[in-house]
């Protein structure tokens, strides 16, 4: 099936069945954490699981989450568009996020961000032509004592990042 166009209103029923099954399997244990009549509390975890499995949290994924949590698609959309870690459109294969808040800039993050933009040929939020890396400027990552901080794929926090270390990180993003 061709990838779903996230800019068009989607229908979760068009999502690949095997992926939906994986979504349901991952969601089930998470639902145990909330009172049985408060399932919609799992909206953030559900969207996160959906984003991991389907690649982004577009409208079809939002619909799926709403359906499974017994709430409206509007509620899912409101959450998916409020939090910066949800992507309603596909991103590059890797997400490189550099903190440019005060402590990081005092340690050289502003220059590194400029260097990154030139090196990758993108602006803030842009994706490289080969679709490999999306670059984003983000707010304080709670690593100010070990600044500058870079978050890779929303999973690995790289700290005390120097221009050289940045090259190594980039090299690892294949």
């Amino acid at each position: 099936m061709p990838p779903h166009d996230p800019t068009k209103p989607g229908d979760w029923k068009d999502l690949p069945k095997d992926q939906v099954a994986r979504f349901d399997a991952a969601l089930a244990p998470v639902l145990q954490r909330y009172p049985p009549d408060k399932k919609e509390a799992a909206m953030i975890p559900a969207l996160r699981i959906g984003q991991e499995i389907f690649g982004h949290a577009g409208t079809a994924v939002q619909q799926l989450c709403a359906e499974r949590l017994g709430t409206s698609p509007a509620r899912a959309e409101e959450v998916a568009t409020f939090y910066v870690m949800f992507h309603t459109h596909p991103t590059g294969k890797h997400l490189l996020e550099i903190c440019t808040n005060v402590s990081c800039c005092l340690a050289g993050a502003d220059r590194m961000f400029e260097q990154l933009k030139r090196r990758l040929g993108v602006e803030n939020g842009g994706t490289t032509k080969d679709g490999r890396i999306t670059l984003r400027e983000v707010e304080c990552l709670g690593s100010c004592g070990t600044a500058p901080a870079v978050l890779v794929d929303e999973k690995v926090m790289e700290e005390r990042v120097s221009p050289q270390k940045l090259e190594t990180i980039l090299g690892g993003l294949q």
């Binding site: 009172p35 996160r48 005060v102 402590s103 800039c105 005092l106 340690a107 709670g142 978050l151």
Partner: protein
């Protein structure tokens, strides 16, 4: 001044994060003791301890706990691990180094307050720390510490980790509850306060990670001993996170009333560049800035308030005299413009205005009167919004403009940034970081 370590004593030990290591050092002994105490007696010890919230507002913890209505159940506990205030990086190290200390604090608190369900709300950008919490929880459940019975006692307790997804506002307590309920993080009008109407409309206590991590020590040694570590109405020690232009940035556990200048000049070794301190943000980016000649103050909540600022989240950001204050304020205003949730007009509209005017001055396009205009904008945001983000956005503007008027005037008079390309000051790439007494 004592150098008792309440929070960092076990940091750096091999496998300090494991249950085995925690128990070997007497861990969960305080919970055992608490379970033999009358519940109000535990609350009383916390009141006596003068423990005050470490999340930013410094509210008396024991007093907050007494606001729970007597006869409404269920009650909930929310643990605030959102740690998003720029300059703040302490809770994550508690979680990384000693997660069981936090869990023990949570268990004691829940027992004392008759709470059977607790959520740890942790920011989405801390996946490693969330996993560390999950692992510690699994260990505690496996060992029969948390679960259907609390260490064998007939008291069931469930604790769950709930990860956020990137929103500073969700550190604000009422936005945190909205977010936990599966919505966007729009703060609620107060009153009613969370202790009365909180998560799912039920009485809820919200405390910061560091606040609760102190509870086992208080139960073990008594509230009076904790109070004695501090001064006046503030007990205990705090984790101060120092970043920016210092030789040794990092986490320092010090008595609550430690001197700010001593922390920067002695513990952190002064500026990395050897140049004079120009400015210090003493308690996260929301706290009013101090000039280099104003830092000889106690960090204690009330003392530093008298000096016109706050020790907030304990995040100290140091800048030497090579740094442009307009550049810094531009970045700070950008943060609040990005993070305003959009609910209240003064904040939603005002924060981007402040950002663009700041940028305009920074780039040399300011005109006489712009600095006052900035102040005027800030004065129309703080105090006019549902939550304190409006105040948080205004206080830096008001203090930067007032204390560094020269920097602003020079930009306007010279039609450029006098610091040019180097507005962020001399680079600090080669510093060492110290976390709770260890080299990081």
């Amino acid at each position: 001044m004592s150098d008792v370590k309440v929070l960092t004593a076990r940091w750096g030990k091999k496998d300090s994060h494991t249950l085995a290591s925690y128990k070997a050092d007497g861990g969960y002994g305080a919970l055992e003791k608490a379970l033999s105490m009358p519940q109000p007696g535990i609350v009383e010890e916390v009141k006596i301890s003068n423990l005050r919230g470490r999340g930013g507002a410094g509210f008396a913890t024991g007093l907050k706990w007494t606001f729970l209505p007597k006869d409404i159940r269920p009650r909930y506990l929310c643990v605030n691990a959102d740690e998003s205030e720029p300059g703040t990086f302490k809770d994550r190290y508690i979680i990384e180094n000693d997660p069981h200390m936090l869990l023990e604090g949570i268990a004691i608190t829940c027992y004392a307050l008759d709470i059977h369900l607790a959520y740890i709300y942790i920011r989405g950008e801390f996946p490693k720390q969330a996993a560390a919490l999950e692992q510690a929880l699994a260990e505690a459940r496996e060992a029969g510490i948390i679960g259907k019975k609390l260490m064998g006692k007939d008291f069931d307790l469930e604790v769950h980790v709930h990860r956020g997804a990137g929103a500073y506002i969700c550190g604000e307590e009422s936005a945190l509850m909205e977010s936990l309920e599966g919505k966007k993080g729009y703060p609620r009008l107060k009153p009613p306060f969370p202790a009365v109407v909180g998560l799912w409309g039920k009485p809820t206590i919200i405390n910061n990670v560091e606040t609760l991590a102190n509870v086992p020590w208080i139960v073990k040694h008594g509230g009076a001993a904790f109070a004695a570590l501090g001064t006046g109405k503030s007990g205990g020690t705090r984790l101060f996170g120092v970043s920016g232009n210092v030789k040794r940035p990092g986490i320092y556990e010090k008595p609550v009333h430690y001197n700010l200048k001593k922390l920067i000049m002695e513990d952190c070794g002064g500026t990395a560049s050897g140049r004079p301190v120009k400015a210090v943000i003493p308690g996260g980016s929301s706290s009013p800035v101090l000039r280099g000649d104003e830092i000889d103050v106690s960090l204690e909540f009330d003392a530093i308030k008298a000096a016109g600022t706050m020790s907030g989240s304990g995040g100290v950001i140091v800048m030497d005299d090579s740094v442009c204050m307009v550049r810094v304020l531009s970045r700070v205003t950008k943060f609040y413009a990005e993070e305003s949730c959009g609910q209240c007009t003064p904040c939603r509209e005002g924060t981007p205005w402040m950002e663009s005017l700041c940028e305009k001055i920074e780039h040399g396009h300011g005109v006489p009167g712009d600095a006052d205009k900035l102040l005027d904008m800030a004065n129309h945001i703080g105090g006019f919004t549902i939550c304190a983000l409006g105040d948080a956005a205004s206080m830096p503007v008001q203090s930067f403009v007032k204390k560094f008027k020269d920097d602003f005037e020079r930009h306007i008079a010279e039609h450029r940034c006098p610091f040019g390309e180097g507005a962020w000051g001399v680079s600090q790439d080669s510093r060492e970081a110290v976390i709770g007494g260890m080299r990081a």
